[in-house]
Symmetry: C2
Subunit: 138 residues, 2 copies
DNA sequence: TACATTACTTTGAAATTCAAACAAAGTAGG
DNA sequence: CCTACTTTGTTTGAATTTCAAAGTAATGTA
């Protein structure tokens, strides 16, 4: 396996570039990176408990509480009581939050189109298969 | 192109998981995420000017100055005058910084091995080609 | 030489984060 | 039931991080 190193390097480089892209895109709107990240998670996975969201964002629940406070003030999300567990609170996107999610997702879509433009259909399919398999192994 | 959406989602999911992994790995050592990120950049790209490092980390140069101050205190990097431009200052890894970079890189290596274990050699080669092409398009 | 630009640092205020303490709700064993 | 323990989310206060703006020194340009 001589190309494992190359593969590793290519993945890291790809991650770095995605990260930079995310930063630059967020700067243009008037929203925090953390807020966009939360909106993205809620848009993809749907309403979530505080704890779940905190874990997915790798912060403590205390930090999450104040972040959600800020996001509520910015009208990005709202809190909703959990159906069966009265300790838990669900966080869900507001209409404005959903709109921001969709805008952001459209940018992601454009980026994906751009960076896969150099690949033919067969390669794109192969890449998709690889990614699906890799996401499973995580 | 019906699978562009799938591709987009797979990429986002992959990025999310890498991000979580990075956080969890860093927590175990006694180093900040920002510090590890800087060490990684310096390890990959070699010594860099403050401005370059700041841009790659998506922060202002002011922030970079205090971050590098902290990293110097932690013996991760050192400052070195630039050869031709006396305004510029090069940041480079210390021995300890290099060691941390290598440890971290080894973990990345293990992760790459793990998540590509479900792929055969042909797929791995295809994936590598795709990534190289995509990194070019960025 | 004079003027503008670039690179970095400093500073002070604002934002973010965490750990710890707390309250309320669920769970398990006797 | 009851008691003890766990889980969930909030609050608090301190520490850290961040940025924008102002300052300094070196470089480029006209």
């Amino acid at each position: 396996m001589p190309h494992l190193d190359q593969l590793n390097h290519a993945i890291i480089e790809f991650y770095e570039k995605l990260s930079s892209w995310e930063h630059s895109v967020v700067k243009e709107i008037g929203v925090t990176l953390a807020h966009v990240h939360a909106v993205e998670l809620l848009g993809i996975h749907g309403a979530m408990r505080m704890k779940e969201l905190a874990m997915k964002m790798s912060v403590t629940t205390g930090t999450m509480t104040v972040q959600v406070d800020n996001m509520v003030k910015a009208d990005l999300v709202r809190r909703r009581p959990h159906d069966t567990d009265r300790r838990s609170i669900l966080v869900e996107l507001t209409e404005k939050g959903q709109q921001i999610y969709q805008n952001h997702d459209a940018l992601h879509h454009d980026l994906t189109q751009q960076i896969t433009s150099g690949l033919d259909t067969t390669q794109q399919q192969a890449l998709l298969n690889c990614l699906i398999q890799m996401n499973r192994e995580f």
